[in-house]
Point group: D3
Chain length 288, copies 6
């Protein structure tokens, strides 16, 4: 569930971008009283995500439009599946089509990619796939939602949600141990403390500092295995292990088998291709 | 050039999304008076786009940050190229890093893809590559800018800029001829009238209606050739021919050779992968 | 049709301007439960424009207000005509009255003036009347809509919609020919290329450059006739001719007779007097 | 003085309206590095108003533009007077020109009209000219400022600033006496209580109720004289007398001579024609 | 009554602050289809204020939530009183709870404190209690509303509503007499002119200048009595007397007995403790 | 450090609230060219917080104002301490005074109260004081900042930052064990899982479920001691213990002595009285 005021703000901004100056074509070519029905149809297999946003875009233009979701959020559908239906003034459907699709295709694209990542996790392993903060500026909430709909997990939401000490923080703080110590003293007690390490030596420092989560940044597989071994051998403390950097579908299985807890991927949000969804209009006698 | 108030609004929204609740990690781990220098570096070959946005993100956080672009907008650079440098309070650089990069990577990603498309145009042909309205909601202006920086062209900006009669308009208007006629009577005289056709038969109707631009939607190559032939054979009127739908790098050359004027591709903006750019921090004695 | 989110944003801003601090008079003088009916009445002949905005202003204050348009958008009505009716809490009607009227009077004022211009076009001529970008800051969309409702046409919407090379561009570009050439190479293919000329000599240059539209800026009538003659005599190319500058009701007929295609007037939007519309309140037993 | 955040918000909104999609013409025709100087020149006599807004529009686009006001706010200038100068990138000047002028022409138009009204007040009389709440939606602050610059006065700013009991309030409240009594009990003690009357009989009621200000709505001149007489004859209390409705330049002198305190006119803001101001660009070697 | 667009803007901003990143706990722990009923209950005696805002917060999240106010605005209730009820999806109620309560507790807190001040006015005296401009940034309208609901009065709304010449204005203007004179010449005729005085000597100057209202700033009680005496003894003019500075519950009676007209207190808004209101959730079969 | 765009947005909104309609008094009484210096002075002992916001308010009105902080953020100062100085146009200082002080007094009020709470922690104990989400709508970021400046800690920022299972979630989820289990499966791995318990029996359930943090809601002191005992006796797992509800200065010491880790108090933000800060203006020859 996404907060409605957030959705409305995003949709209104997008409608303004596409439509502030009126819709020349629809106004010129279509009568004001022509009614129609529009159907969103998957042109390729995809995981459905964003039906509420898609439908809401038309409602923002005209509250009298009737909308209906025909596929459940998160459902994997085949090409040809009918996802949503809207009925109302043809001009309204034409004016809202592109904006509504731009959201729907992006969100379904992310959910579809996330699902592929999740399905690459081998049975019997316990890793989770997460996103990162590498989201589209202004669209983080709906992209993180799409990640969840796809079956993956979210990482921290923003810089104020949790502690993640990255390479540049370590430079600025003067070392891992010092950074973790300061974080523990000042961060909210509700936040775990995560630290990124670039080598096994840094991992040892992070372990000694009792970081709650250690992120292995761009580790080779052999080093991942060694990292898991060291963590399991460490006495009296068991941090979570996260891997990030260069995550591909192929690597997910081997990382999960290695015993990693969290696999995070920026590509889930910054490079997911749009899902292919068409919008087909038909003239229609509308019945209530 | 993008209008500064637009950039500032986009950046502020993105900063708010990532930073509204403060930056826990930087505030906890880094002293308020620590100074640093940050450098944006290409990790893979890319076409540079968005330096102004990247640098402005830091300036919005702290007007005393010193910023410098080290690579020209539109330049193709190799992996390792240093693109931008910012100097100031370490906390400011750390807080702005992700937001600044999210813009920079997206814009450079689009410019890089656009450049590849443009370079696929064979010498001696005259087609232009354009984007579509399939842009990220809220980011159209900067994505269209990135397309231009990449060397491609923009299609119409929004529904109020020009007439484009698409399949659904034709359904609602009751045919191509009628739609074109109405558009000519009512549209601004500054706008050309474009109509999308799904077959050669529809092309003939569009020609007869004297549409200024005809878009061939998902035409096979043979039909593209036939379309060009018919347009050239048409008496007393020469519309522009545009091709859209399923544009791939491979098809660009053959379409250009066929004599098409415009090749438009939604993937330029909705599915361009992010460019890979790193941000490296160093403690530094800052000199004015 | 204007996009609802746009209307709501404009109305909310105007209500905030007039009402943010509460309505002292209504709250002090009128009981919270008093119901009333308000009627918008033309006090002078006018062309109706803005009923949707007028009514929406009350709905934004209180969704339970019942609203009704009693005159069609674009209808020319006599003094005394009843245009709209709203029914609900008296306080709501009183608080919204001024804001609702400020929109209604401005929009009807522009539509009324546009209608007078359009009716000045002699039968048998084919010129169209258009607005310009000389609109009220922040209200362009509703003012351009009012121009259309009045029966005139819109010019390009904004700087990103189409090419119009004006005197200052020619100065900065280094001449008409060079400016037109650059525009053709870089502008969207959906935009015609218009150039403003200040003399017959400049017209010849624009013709030679194959500008799609030539705007004659502040031409004397004799020069207008000569311009039309030269355009018609030009081989193999027929641009549209637009006249701008000092357009008065009186000049419209002679310009249309001269064979001009487009007559554009900034006064349509920047100097149209407000239409005279009253709002009369009556206490009323409201029936559903 | 207008608050800078208000100005910036108005300007940014107007720039967004005209420029969000980039400036096709300037970007196509003018080199990014071309410098120029632009001069705002009165084409007809006018009262200068809005130089700060005019100049600020360019600064918002590019803080490096150099701006200069050459005429004082409120000064009456002849045709040909140079009002403002801006220097910087030619593209910036071209992109900002229309937005800057739209504000400047409107504000100077209102100030010019207000000045004419004020100058119509005969020497030796003490009436003041005021505006009303019939302002352009969203632009009230700058229009009221223009009224002051023209030499006239402002009426109350909005519904929360002061009590003004109008005809519709009287209907809803059940009479003048009751409305005034309630207003006195509940309104802020900083607000005077004004009541609109439609007849001499109502004036008597308002006097008996000790309204602080009485507005004579659409009174004939004879009735205005009688109203002044009755007010002066009233014992122990002297309200201000305001006249509103159908105020023309011609009537101002006779109303002032009659002894009226306040003459309010909606036309000052809702129907003032735009002042005629040109913007002339010249290529220029810019010196610091 | 507060304008709905204002409420919605305040609520949306607050929801965004608390909920932009989704509600982790509710989404993780509660099924999407679980229905519930929530009840707002006073935990201590209080004056009810803000039911409309409280209920609207849930409606903004989900228009299908059913809401009901069970206590009238302005009613003094005992601990345990049920104030409001909302029914709908449990997730929605949980997500909106804190935001809704934050408004409700603040508004009821102010109304409760205002009521205590008002009830401290002795019978037979005629002073009114008012707020000041010392309100929470961004919340002035709802805090002033709460003051009214509590039974106290509002002072001027903002700097544009009325004239109040304070100590710093007197410094900048060069004295009380000069400041009052200038204010009378330039301020709207709808505004009374108030001046703050710091001594009896300044009071005499203000009287001589015929200020409409004189505010005694931090006067000792003996000086307050003397001020009342001087005002009553002054010939031909009777300004209102206001006292401000260090107002406590205890002083209200003595100030009212002394004959003061207005007692203004910043603490009403800047230091009112939040009212104690709980929100209790119950699973419920929802019946329409 | 607070992000500048956030500060500017808050300040602009507050200035708009107080000043949108212009500052009648300053404009009427003070010459436009009068310069002055204003000084913020503590009238009672306080902890300084908000100097940057105070100073920025004047800069937003007029970038040429010179500003200076004279007391460090977080410093405890005595009555009479000079905190800030601003110099510039007298009108600007007068127009910004109230808005600037409203922020400064609120922020310093919270910091002052937080400092008192923190100083009530006995030496040798290790509890931390935290705020809650009971903040002023729209001002959470600056109120949480004030809590930190006062020396206390922040709890989670918002509903998307961390998991806190409260009484109503337990009702909706069907019990503590089930809620914790679901939270662990779905929440971000960066968030600890906190659960609120209302009794020792619920504490045992939370311990068995391995909640990372247990909040004792409104526990008597004896039960607090027993809770600490049970937590310490629990095998193999040691959650943090937080106490909330009815926190007073007096109880802090006994709770800390009892061994509690976190003491959270809503009153820190929702009921902190404003600090008493004056703004004194002096005419001044300004030297650069």
């Amino acid at each position: 569930m996404l907060p409605l005021p957030l959705l409305d703000a995003l949709i209104d901004r997008a409608l303004d971008e596409d439509l502030a100056a009126s819709d020349l074509t629809s106004e010129a070519c279509v009568d004001a009283t022509t009614d129609a029905t529009g159907t969103a149809v998957a042109r390729k297999p995809l995981v459905v995500c964003g039906t509420a946003v898609f439908l809401r875009a038309f409602e923002r233009l005209d509250p009298s439009v009737r909308v209906e979701a025909l596929a459940a959020e998160g459902m994997a559908v085949a090409a040809g599946a009918v996802l949503c239906r809207v009925a109302g003034r043809a001009r309204v459907l034409l004016s809202g089509e592109r904006t509504a699709l731009n959201f729907f295709q992006r969100m379904s694209g992310i959910a579809t990619l996330a699902r592929r990542y999740v399905e690459a996790l081998p049975p019997g392993t316990s890793a989770r796939i997460t996103d990162t903060r590498k989201t589209t500026p202004g669209l983080r909430a709906i992209e993180r939602y799409a990640v969840r709909v796809g079956g993956a997990h979210n990482h921290r939401d923003n810089l104020g949600s949790a502690i993640l000490i990255k390479d540049n923080h370590i430079v600025a703080a003067g070392g891992i141990a010092r950074a973790v110590e300061r974080a523990r003293a000042r961060a909210p007690h509700t936040s775990r403390i995560e630290v990124e390490v670039a080598s096994l030596a840094e991992l040892d420092v992070a372990l000694a500092a009792h970081a709650d989560i250690v992120m292995l940044d761009n580790f080779e597989l052999a080093d991942v295995h060694e990292a898991v071994r060291r963590v399991r051998a460490f006495q009296g403390f068991r941090p979570l292990l996260e891997v990030s950097g260069g995550i591909t579908l192929e690597r997910i299985a081997e990382l999960a088998h290695a015993g990693i807890d969290v696999i995070s991927s920026g590509a889930l949000t910054h490079s997911a291709p749009a899902a292919d969804i068409a919008f087909d209009l038909a003239l229609a006698v509308l019945t209530p």
